[in-house]
């Protein structure tokens, strides 16, 4: 996904005439495949809009900005879910980014080969664990540990901050953020590693030849060169965190409330869909859940769009920094 191999020139150059028929056919077929993805997206959004219509009509612009979620009285608002999705993902990134980046830099720049290989393999292995296993681990090991050890410690040291107040349940936003962090580490770290490895050795050698220490070489020559790739890796991790469902549902506490404390239970958009979709009997309840799905779609596009803008702006500066 990140090895940017330059495409070699075609072995046989296309000639004018007969051979072009096959070429055109091939181009047409691949175009069809490419377009089919777009068509599927459009159809999906269309189908979702149609099912969500009753909720969109009834709540209009209030839907994303109100907090009541009452399937019995059929009053629905999505704000706590949007909040929960964003906060749990940001929390996950704030834990995962330093860990993944630090790990990737160590593995590519500093670690001896015999150590780098097995560690990289183990980190990649994290990606292949099913999310339900993460969830069960969260319920039975992480949450009790948070409740008995981590949360009391945080409350004692940083209890003056509203982030670390309130009763310790174990499950909650903090547990969700930590599980998500572990789940996105292999993505961020894997891509960052590839990006760092793609930095030409001449960059490093040039810095070292000018008398830079190892750290200075990494900071001035390697990181600026790979900055946009690393941001891309973080975006990939963020996308994964926003959409993750099962593991989060199992540890977040599933309470549609906005609480400042990270100890308090929360709820995410993906979780409420997974929780209530199968047993939603009324069309209206279903419509509200589908509208949450649409919102998740929108939030993901928005966040990714913002991140991409960031990459473009940074990529421009990146080259300039390298030249400094």
């Amino acid at each position: 996904m990140s090895s940017f191999e330059a495409l070699p020139a075609p072995a046989v150059l296309p000639r004018a005439g007969g051979a072009n028929v096959a070429d055109r056919l091939f181009r047409g077929t691949t175009l069809l495949f490419a377009l089919s993805v777009v068509v599927i997206m459009v159809l999906m959004v269309g189908a979702m809009l149609r099912t969500a219509l009753p909720a969109i009509r009834a709540f209009g612009w209030h839907f994303p900005f109100t907090s009541t979620w009452d399937p019995v009285a059929e009053r629905f608002g999505a704000l706590p879910f949007i909040y929960g999705t964003l906060v749990s993902s940001l929390l996950a990134l704030s834990i995962a980014v330093p860990l993944s980046l630090g790990g990737a830099i160590f593995l590519v720049e500093l670690a001896p080969h015999w150590l780098a290989q097995p560690i990289a393999f183990l980190i990649d292995l994290l990606a292949s664990i099913p999310s339900v296993v993460y969830g069960l681990w969260g319920i039975f090991i992480l949450a009790p540990w948070l409740r008995t050890t981590v949360q009391p410690t945080l409350a004692a040291l940083l209890g003056f901050l509203p982030l670390f107040q309130g009763p310790a349940y174990g499950v909650g936003m903090l547990a969700a953020g930590m599980i998500l962090a572990i789940m996105v580490i292999p993505f961020i770290s894997g891509v960052s590693r590839e990006v760092l490895m793609a930095v030409p050795n001449s960059q490093r050698e040039a810095a070292l030849a000018l008398g830079a220490t190892k750290w200075e070489a990494i900071r001035t020559a390697v990181l600026p060169y790979s900055r946009s790739g690393i941001i891309g890796a973080i975006i990939l991790g963020l996308g994964r965190a926003l959409g993750e469902t099962m593991a989060v549902t199992m540890v977040i506490g599933n309470r549609p409330e906005i609480a400042l404390s990270l100890f308090a239970p929360g709820y995410t958009m993906a979780s409420v869909i997974a929780n209530e979709f199968a047993e939603a009997t009324s069309d209206f309840h279903l419509a509200a859940l589908i509208e949450i799905g649409l919102l998740l779609f929108g939030v993901t596009i928005l966040v990714n769009g913002l991140a991409r803008l960031l990459v473009w702006s940074v990529a421009g500066n990146g080259a300039a920094t390298v030249r400094e």
Binding site: A9, F26, P71, V72, F277, T281, L286
Partner: protein
Amino acid sequence: MRWSYIHKHKWMVFGVLGVAALSALVSLPSITGEVSAEMLINGAGATFPYPLYSKWFSEYAKVDPSARFNYQSIGSGGGIRQVKAGTVDFGASDAALSDEDLKKMPRALFHIPTVAGAVVITYNLPGVGKGLKLTPDALAEVYLGQVTRWNDAKIASLNPNMNLPAQQIIVVHRSDGSGTTNIFATYLNAISNTWATKVGKGTSVNWPVGLGGKGNEGVAGQVKQTPGAIGYVELAYAEQNKLPYALLKNRAGRFVEPSLEATSAAVAGAIAELVKDVRVPIVNSPGEHAYPIAGLTYLLVYQTQDDQKKAASLAKFLWWAIHDGQKYAPELLYAPLAPQLVKVIESTIKQMTFQGKPVLAAH
């Protein structure tokens, strides 16, 4: 794969694609042909009775080898939607449909009760032990967030022999929509006016307090891990995992342990109402030994059928399920139907028709 490689071998690539497409086209009719020859009866719905239903389908194959069943346990909501759309031959739901929902169905829909289940209150109080006693009021107030400590007089007065701590009660409920939640909320709805006005009943409700766990295992896991927690799980799940449970005061004033017998007693106790309409909830049943948080699970079939052979098979299966099939229920921890209720269902199955004629041969 590199471009030059594709370019060199393009005819081979197209050939492979073509063969794949052709074989897909050819195999389609053969699959559908197979299905119609063997008579496949499709169903979808509730997950709670799925272990029993799959046992039934395999046992029934010995009785009538010509009928094959395909059941998707996608949840009651999905089952109801698929029945409505006519994509399955029968649906299954843990919650009975309201009159209003029944009116939205294209044709008259029958509820066939199959077995009963119960919901158990489980808790985690280190050093307190089994057999905590609870009244309906106390339980409702805990779930409403009005009783917040274990040593509250409302609970302590019921358990004079227990040394209840001054610990906060951590309420746990199901986060996923479920028949279990429906039975539990229906019960609280029946015994507490405050609950009825503030929360109501359904497969998902707006919980006044507490943490949500996904599935029985999620609730049980959170209760087990958290001292001071209280939660509710399905009877079968509580038995299999040996969870501590509370005794509940029933309508007759007895403290009853949850069990299969007490669940069947709840069905029998509500029989006077069930005879009129099998959809009435059997929570807070008046039977003397009845466990109060119980509910029936249903198969949903249309009264008028449009495939005679299939309808006959389905009706025969339903008849078998409420008679011979019942003996498989207890070993899988479902409560069998009371005999009085079986009589009611018999007459319902006899009312299934194809072009005005009953589909079931006389029994």
